[in-house]
Symmetry: C2
Subunit: 308 residues, 2 copies
C-alpha cells in the first residue's frame, strides 16, 4: 500500500504515546501505542520510533508522509517549541525542529488538549462551536469554531481549570486559590488522596463508595469542579456541543452520576441554573477514539500553519 | 433627503431610549434620545414615537425604512417577544409583533447587551473574536465572531454575571451565591449602599474616597467583580479584543484604576495571572458611541433572521 497524502499524528502523554497514520480521506490506516520515555531525549526517541513504526506498517515511502503532527501536555510556542511539559520531564525543548531533522518530515506541534478538541470535533462531525473539556492531570478545554481551532489572543481560550471559584479553596500551583483544577485535576486529587495508586481518581471513588470520609470529600470536590467547568463554559461560550474526555473520564458513568448529582443539587436552589439543564446533557467522548492523535495528524492541515 | 436602505435602531433602557437612523453605508444620519415610559404600553409608545421622530427628521418616506431593530434589557424569545425586562416594567410582551403593526415596518428585537456587542464590533471594526462586557444594572457580555453575534446553543453565551466565584458570597436573585453580578452589578451595589441616589455607583466611589468603610468594601467588591469577569472571559473565550461598556463605566478612569489595582494585586501572587497582563489592557468603549442603538439597527441584517 502506498501513495497519497499520508499524515501522522502523535499524542505524547506522560506515560503512553498514541500514534496514528491517516490517509487523504482522514481514515485511520494504522494506530500504534507505546510507553513514553522520560525527558527530552526520551520524548524525541519515542516520537521517532512511532513515526518509523507507522511508516513501516503502512508500507509507504517516506515521500508519501506529508506531515507529522504532535500533541504534547504543555505550552507550545510559535515555532513548535515545548515548554513546561512537567509530565514529560521537559522544561524547554525545540521539539518541532529536532523531530523534523530526525524524520525528514514537516512537523507541527500543538498542545494535546487543543489537538484532542480538533480531533474530537472532526471525528464527531461537529459544526458551529464545539468545546472539548479535558479532565486529566489538569483541567482544560479546547474550542473549535467551524472546524478550526480557536486559540484566542493569548492562547488561553479554554483554560477554565484556572478560573478561581472559591477564595477559601486549595492553593493552586498557578498561585491562585480555589481554581477549578484544584478540585477536579487528577494531580491535585492524587496529592490530597496521598496513597500510592496507579489510578488515584478510581481509588478515591472506590473508597468513597466504602464510606471513607476523605474520599467522599475529594469525590464531592471532583464533582463540584467538573460542574463548575461545565457551568463556566455554558455561561461564557455556550457551545453548540460540549464533550468531556480525558483520563478521569475512564470512570465513565460513575463520574457522570457524581457530576449530575452536584448539578441537580445546585439547580434545585436556582431557577436560572435549572433552566440550563446541564445535568441531562453530559456527553462523554468514547474512550476508544484516538481524538488527540487524530487531531495532531490534522493540525498540520490548518490554513496558514507554519510547518517546520 | 430620501431613498435607499434606511434602518432604525432603538436601545430602550430603563430610564432613556436612544434611537438612530442609519443609511445603506451604516452611517448614522440622525440620533434622538428620549425618556422611556414605564410598562408595556409605555415601552411601545416610546418606541413608536422614536420611529416617527427619526422618520420625520430624515425626510424619508415610510417605504425607505427597511427595518426597525430594538435592543431591550431582558430575555428575547424567538419571535421577538420580551420577557423579564424588569427595568422596563415588562414581564411578557410581544414587542416585535405589536411594533410592526404600529409602525408598518419589519421589526427585530434583540437583548440590549448583544445588540451593543454587535454595534461596538462594527463601529470599532473588530475582526475575529470580539467580546463586549457590559457593566450596568447587571453584568453580561456579548460575543461577536467575524462580525456575527454568537448567541450559543442556549443563548447564554456571555452570561458571565452569573458565574459564582465565592460560595460564601452574597445571595443572587438567580438563586446562586457569590455571582460576579452580586459584586459588580449596579442593582446589587445600589441595594448594599442603601442610600437613595441617582448614581449609586458614583456615590459609592465618592464615599470610598472619603474613607467610608461600607463604600470601601463595596468599591473593592466592584473591582473584584469586574476583575473576575475579565479573567473568566480571558480563560474561556480569550477574544482578539475585549471592550468594556455600560452605565458603570461612566466612572471612567476611576473604575479602571480600581480594577487595575485588583488585577495587579492578584497577579502579584500568581505568575500565571501576571502572564495574562490584564491590568494594562482595560479598554473602555467611548461613552458617546451609540453602540446599542447602532447594533439594534444592524441586527436586522443578520443572515437568515426572521424579520417580523
Amino acid at each position: 500500500m502506498s501513495g497519497g497524502h499520508l499524515r501522522i499524528g502523535l499524542d505524547i502523554g506522560g506515560t503512553k504515546t498514541d500514534a496514528v497514520l491517516i490517509d487523504d480521506e482522514d481514515a485511520i490506516r494504522h494506530r500504534v501505542r507505546s510507553a513514553t520515555s522520560w525527558g527530552p531525549a526520551g520524548v524525541i526517541d519515542t516520537a521517532v520510533r512511532a513515526v518509523e513504526e507507522l511508516t513501516e506498517l503502512s508500507g509507504a515511502g517516506a515521500a508519501d508522509i506529508v506531515s507529522v503532527g504532535v500533541g504534547v501536555p504543555g505550552q507550545v510556542g510559535e515555532g513548535g517549541a515545548v515548554r513546561h511539559a512537567v509530565n514529560l520531564g521537559v522544561e524547554d525543548l525545540d521539539l518541532a525542529t529536532i523531530l523534523r531533522e530526525r524524520t525528514g518530515h514537516p512537523v507541527v506541534v500543538e498542545n494535546d488538549v487543543k489537538a484532542a478538541a480538533l480531533g474530537a470535533a472532526r471525528i464527531l462531525g461537529a459544526t458551529g462551536s464545539f468545546v472539548y473539556l479535558n479532565l486529566g492531570t489538569g483541567v482544560a478545554a479546547g474550542h473549535v469554531l467551524d472546524g478550526r481551532l480557536h486559540r484566542g489572543r493569548r492562547g488561553t481560550a479554554g483554560e477554565v481549570g484556572h478560573i478561581a471559584v472559591d477564595p477559601e479553596g486549595h492553593a493552586c500551583r498557578c498561585g491562585q486559590r480555589g481554581c477549578i483544577e484544584t478540585l477536579a485535576g487528577g494531580a491535585y486529587v492524587a496529592e490530597r488522596w496521598g496513597q500510592v495508586s496507579d489510578y488515584p481518581v478510581l481509588a478515591v471513588f472506590d473508597a468513597a463508595d466504602r464510606g471513607d470520609e476523605l474520599a467522599l470529600r475529594i469525590r464531592d470536590g471532583i464533582a463540584r469542579g467538573v460542574a463548575c467547568a461545565l457551568t463556566v463554559l455554558t455561561l461564557s461560550v455556550d457551545p453548540d456541543r460540549l464533550v468531556v474526555g480525558g483520563g478521569v473520564t475512564a470512570l465513565g458513568e460513575r463520574l457522570v452520576e457524581a457530576v449530575r448529582l452536584e448539578l441537580r443539587t445546585s439547580a434545585a436552589g436556582s431557577d436560572f441554573l435549572a433552566s440550563l439543564d446541564l445535568a441531562s446533557g453530559i456527553d462523554l467522548l468514547p474512550r476508544a477514539l484516538p481524538a488527540a492523535a487524530f487531531g495532531a495528524a490534522i493540525v498540520a492541515d490548518r490554513e496558514g500553519a507554519d510547518v517546520h
